[in-house]
Symmetry: C2
Subunit: 338 residues, 2 copies
């Protein structure tokens, strides 16, 4: 295929605007990846439909919101391809073929599916669309011949499922699919929510959004979980599990000062308000240019959707080339050959 | 939609050439249906792939063989639409959307799936593509807005599953899908195989093919299962479960003579050879014009595939119109509306 650059696929379900947890966990990484890899950024609306059947209007607006977040953080459509999953129907077609290569039992054993199914409280009512998600994802990845897929540790079983499918397919029909690799970030710590309880997420209501207003950010920072035993300023405080310090570690450029603050906090004599105000300042500085770019792009939603339209056209071209070779080896390209 | 004629969908998996069991069970009915309904005849190769992964070359030839059988029995491309399932990728896309409306448990409870899964001996290794077959079929049916689906009694649960999906979809997104009805033939008796053991099927090796050579037919008829206790010509014989009489009942135009033969056979004094020779004559007469037309069409396979290509083009046009309205109510037609 004489590929010059390696291909990477990444993406998000458009369940709402993105937050700083997305930034730390993946967006920041993509801004780097797009410089050296042929990066495809997928707005996974088909998966969004699966989790929000019946709220189609919301989904549509979310696609715009997610794209605004992409552009705001510096994901650059001149360097990468932003596209909408459902507008590349070749993925659906490939999914259907892959479904013959995987057993139901194998999907039910998938640790990611088991874990997410528990989180969503499906019980015995797992939607078929949810169960086959790993197969759908295998199609997403392989239709773009992705070499690397940046994922969190919890998503690695999905990539393993993709590799199994690629090997089965190539063995049965012929070597046309590329085997992907999971790229798990070294500093792959998830950002906890502002409540300190779990990872940051929209549904838990513990997120700071990339486009959020300065006052809202301040209010949330001031309500952050710190150390419940740190009641008086003079009390010694705990840094571990303290969300304010966790965020300072990530966002504060002055590491030495943060370490000094930690020491002070541990000894006692440093109030929560002081560290929260510092974090607020750091976050405001980090978010200001992102918010500014987001607002600028938001003035012309049609232009933003046009970026997605062009990306989708390119993605579709790549996808249909892969699908053509898949159909060729499966010998179901009936009207092309003798 | 101001439809003038009702729409019907029927089809076959291209697992090999068709036999007289197919003729009795469905082909004969289709030749009638095409006169009054807008009939779509689907060569279900995606389902064929599910059951024959790894034999893609065979599948391709089977598509030609099945089409030759269609044309030979009088399925008329000027009256109906013959098409290849996998060449209408809109079906795959619609299947993916429907998968979110059905639970895994519901599919596992489907009687047709349970029964076929047992027949195929999948045990706990049910391919995902097999489990979701009812959803795939719901997409086949609804993408053509089929009002009626001619099926055997054993396939009725599949149509019930389709109706459930249609109702869910229309309730959640808006009324765009047509609810189909199962059309179970009144004289829906299946043709048993020549061994008398089960229904006629390729895999059981007990079939008489529509295109089979006269000598081969004769040989098979002479080896047919009759009455194992009817050893001497003078012995009284049993008509019930006797394959030769079962076939005479269906194919012999002279019902009175067949009844007289049955009486004689029951009394004793009528040899198997006599009734087999009669059946051979009847079948040869029935098959001769079919074989002739089949041979004529087979001289120009490219012309036959061209019929399928044109049918597929028409089917795709209808399918993409339905899919467009589906995407519109799902609100995922991103670049069409504001």
């Amino acid at each position: 295929m004489n590929k010059q650059r390696k291909v990477a696929l990444s993406g998000d379900r458009p369940t709402g605007p993105l937050h700083i947890g997305h930034y730390v966990g993946s967006l920041k990484n993509r801004v780097e990846l797009q410089k050296n890899l042929d990066l495809f950024v997928m707005i996974a609306d088909v998966q969004g439909i699966a989790s929000s059947a019946g709220q189609p209007k919301e989904l549509r607006d979310n696609v715009l919101q997610v794209t605004l977040d992409y552009l705001a953080v510096g994901i650059d459509p001149s360097l990468c391809t932003i596209f909408i999953q459902s507008m590349v129907p070749e993925i659906a077609e490939l999914t259907i073929y892959y479904l013959n290569l995987v057993t139901v039992a194998r999907l039910q054993r998938n640790p990611t599916i088991k874990e997410e199914s528990k989180q969503k409280g499906y019980g015995s009512n797992i939607p078929a669309g949810f169960l086959i998600h790993p197969v759908n994802q295998a199609a997403d990845i392989t239709i773009f011949k992705a070499d690397v897929v940046p994922v969190g540790q919890d998503q690695v079983p999905l990539i393993e499922q993709t590799i199994e499918i690629v090997r089965s397919f190539n063995r049965i029909y012929g070597e046309v699919l590329t085997e992907p690799q999971a790229m798990v970030p070294k500093d792959g710590a998830r950002l906890t929510g502002i409540d300190g309880k779990a990872k940051m997420s929209k549904s838990l209501g513990n997120a700071l959004y990339l486009g959020e207003a300065p006052e809202a950010i301040t209010k949330k920072v001031m309500s952050m979980y710190t150390d419940p035993k740190h009641i008086h300023v003079t009390d010694p405080g705990t840094v571990e599990g303290n969300v304010v310090f966790a965020y300072l570690d990530i966002f504060d450029p002055n590491k030495a000062e943060v370490e000094a603050l930690k020491d002070h906090y541990r000894r006692g004599g440093l109030g929560d308000t002081v560290i929260k105000k510092r974090l607020d300042g750091v976050l405001q500085e980090f978010l200001a240019p992102i918010r500014k770019r987001r607002e600028d792009y938001a003035k012309d939603p049609a232009a933003v959707m046009d970026i997605v339209r062009k990306g989708t056209e390119k993605a579709r071209m790549v996808a249909s080339t892969t699908l053509a070779s898949v159909r060729r080896v499966m010998n179901i390209d009936y009207f092309q050959q003798k």
